[in-house]
């Protein structure tokens, strides 16, 4: 009734291949972008922008990165946190060595360092798969984490062994560092995330994405069809790590403002993995939904029960978050292995036929 494609004819190949073939979807995405770009900066307070939206967008970007690898190519990785760390440390080194260059350029460029690390640790993926590969990526996680602690050159021999984001300006506006305004940082993060999501969407809908999905569904069959496994898998590792690296650089430069190696510990990898399991493996929308749920759940637990007259300890909130996350993962794997993204599709179908049952 509300959501129906009747009367929308596809009269060219371009319209047939469109990512959003239905007019309502295009209007919907336009409204979401308008809210993100105009309404939230105008109406949101500092808390909403700084503590909710910026991290939500950054984690979504990391989740997209992991989803390209795990959801689309079927290679389980537990090294996301370390690849994010490579991006953050690379960006820090680059901007302290070349302070004059545009910081946004370095944030993007640091993704390439992370991609290189991803390719190196993705090499075993030709011989091993499944949980064997997961353990191989654990090697990446622990080895890189060790590098962040033990190689003082990476953090410029700081006494604190942490990286601190220097102040950088762009066209006279302070972009990073403690004096940058939340709105500026929000706009930069949002723009990067929107552009990279658009690129990812084009990747997965094109030849490369189809090759990835063929490898995921059955690697031997994909090989027989002429897809070369090693380049395809390595490309997935590279692109995925690129996204994670940019997300890591954004995390430190536009949100935390400084970080120690513990930020990129194994728990970060798990958090991102849970986001894509709950959001939906093999879905870009799922990355956003999962990141939203996993990131916003603790915030809700922290602020809602006191409003209802149930004061909870900070520690209790943390324990409850763990329990609920664990239960949700099991619940989703049993009830809907395709995650929140699949629920959204079912909802769309319901809207389409409403008020009739089918």
């Amino acid at each position: 009734m509300f959501y129906r494609e009747a009367g929308q004819f596809k009269i060219s190949y371009a319209s047939d291949q469109a990512v959003f073939p239905i007019l309502q979807d295009r209007i919907g995405i336009f409204i979401i972008l308008a809210i993100a770009f105009v309404v939230i900066p105008l109406t949101g307070n500092d808390f909403i922008i700084n503590a909710v939206m910026i991290p939500f967008l950054i984690f979504s970007l990391a989740a997209i990165g992991l989803n390209l690898l795990t959801g689309y190519t079927g290679q389980l990785s537990l090294g996301t946190g370390a690849f994010m760390g490579v991006g953050a440390y690379a960006c820090y080194k680059l901007t302290t060595i070349f302070p004059g260059v545009n910081i946004i350029f370095w944030v993007i460029a640091s993704g390439f360092f992370s991609a290189a690390a991803g390719v190196v640790f993705g090499l075993p993926s030709l011989r091993i798969k499944g949980f064997y590969l997961a353990i191989a990526t654990l090697a990446a996680q622990f080895f890189l984490e060790w590098c962040f602690i033990r190689i003082p050159w990476l953090y410029n021999y700081n006494v604190s062994a942490a990286i601190e984001v220097p102040q950088r300006e762009l066209f006279g506006i302070i972009v990073t560092g403690p004096r940058a305004s939340a709105e500026t940082r929000y706009y930069i993060v949002l723009s990067i995330v929107v552009v990279m999501t658009w690129i990812a969407s084009n990747l997965v809908h094109g030849r490369i994405g189809r090759a990835w999905m063929a490898v995921r569904d059955m690697d031997i069959a994909a090989e027989l069809m002429g897809i070369r496994l090693l380049p395809t898998k390595l490309l997935a590792f590279a692109v995925s790590s690129f996204y994670c690296g940019v997300a890591g650089a954004l995390l430190v430069f536009l949100w935390y403002g400084g970080a120690e190696s513990t930020v990129f510990a194994i728990n970060e990898s798990f958090t991102i993995l849970f986001m894509i399991i709950i959001g939906g493996l093999g879905s870009l929308l799922g990355a956003f939904l999962g990141a939203g749920l996993i990131y916003i759940l603790p915030i809700i637990l922290r602020f809602v029960p006191p409003e209802l007259g149930l004061p909870l300890h900070a520690a209790t909130v943390e324990h409850l978050t763990f329990m609920i996350t664990g239960a949700l993962i099991i619940l989703f794997l049993i009830a809907e292995p395709a995650g929140l993204a699949r629920l959204w599709q079912i909802g769309k179908q319901k809207l389409r036929v409403w008020p009739f049952p089918y």
């Binding site: 075993p124 353990i135 194994i266 943390e318 993962i329 099991i330 049993i334």
Partner: protein, 318 residues
């Protein structure tokens, strides 16, 4: 040339000069490796019988230890607390079978693997919610575990062995031997091996899969409890241990996923290699190498022998 000397010759010269130090390092590695092996043993039990790669084994170790200490602090006598913990582990096994495994029957392995992530997180949250998140001290005295150390004069120096570690090694050996007998001689053990070979064939000769899974998760829970007691005695009992528990994964890669002797040998190799590497070669690159040494060994191993030392050859059928 200097670097070459430092890497190839100097560590061995040090070993030859101070054999007592070498013996001490080997012993430390042996004990650490035994504990890795015990965690890996829990993995192998479950993997053999149900094909589930149980990521939560490390957390089950901490959870068991935490339950034991938590009950004792709540005023329950030590051995009653031990009994109650065993009951708790049984309830846990039963619940996992009912709530997680049964609805996920016939799903791809990787889905089950991820489900055990869910179990891991739930157990962390639940354990801390019930018993509190602060690190606890294992009740070694109440369980009559010995403390202190024995020092030997050997190799021209002094080697000191913790009494607790000796007991740990003995108990672990007994447990491994017991499990070996259980698997090869008893009725249930034979049923377990049948299930491991083929689910459908086992079902057709009248073996109840549900029952077997509860038994095997319970056995893994018991192994976890024993590991938890000895590990908790060496350091505090808290969920910070879970990073160390991940070390069991490279042990599995080394030993093979389906082999009990493999888990033991793999654990010992990783434990001893890690200690030797850290002690003799670690200082060359800044120390702290035991954080990743095991994983890199496993990574190299994967490239050449993916099925591990004792594992069955991985055959992929289309």
């Amino acid at each position: 040339m200097d670097l070459f000397y430092n890497i190839i010759i100097d560590p061995f010269a040090q070993m030859a000069q101070a054999p007592d130090l070498l013996a001490q390092t080997l012993w430390e590695g042996l004990v650490g490796g035994m504990l890795y092996a015990l965690i890996a043993l829990g993995f192998v039990l479950i993997f053999k019988a149900s094909g589930v790669f149980n990521f939560a084994q490390g957390i089950m170790v901490v959870f068991a230890a935490l339950t034991l200490v938590g009950l004792h602090t709540a005023g329950v006598p030590a051995f009653l607390a031990l009994g109650l913990t065993i009951v708790v582990m049984f309830v846990l096994a039963w619940t996992i079978e009912r709530v997680v495994l049964r609805p996920l029957v016939n799903q791809p392995d990787i889905i089950l693997f991820m489900a055990t992530f869910g179990i891991t997180y739930f157990l962390i949250g639940f354990g801390e919610f019930v018993f509190g998140g602060d690190p606890k001290i294992m009740i070694t005295e109440a369980l009559y575990l010995p403390k202190g150390s024995i020092t030997y004069k050997a190799f021209g120096g002094v080697v000191s062995l913790q009494r607790l570690d000796i007991v740990a090694v003995i108990v672990a050996s007994i447990m491994v031997a017991g499990l070996g007998v259980f698997f090869s001689k008893t009725r249930i053990g034979r049923a377990l091996r049948a299930v491991a070979d083929s689910h459908s064939a086992a079902l057709s000769v009248g073996i109840s899969l549900d029952q077997i899974w509860v038994i095997v998760w319970f056995a893994a829970g018991l192994v976890a409890l024993v590991t938890g007691i000895f590990w908790g005695a060496r350091s505090d009992v808290s969920f910070a241990l879970d990073v160390i528990a991940l070390k069991a994964l490279p042990v599995l890669i080394l030993g093979g996923f389906t082999s009990i002797p493999g888990a033991i040998v793999g654990g010992l190799i990783i434990g001893i290699g890690e200690k030797l590497g850290e002690f003799y070669w670690g200082p060359l690159i800044g120390g702290g190498t035991d954080a990743w040494f095991a994983y890199v060994i496993a990574l190299v191993f994967l490239l050449f022998r993916p099925q591990g030392l004792f594992g069955e050859k991985i055959i992929e059928r289309v």
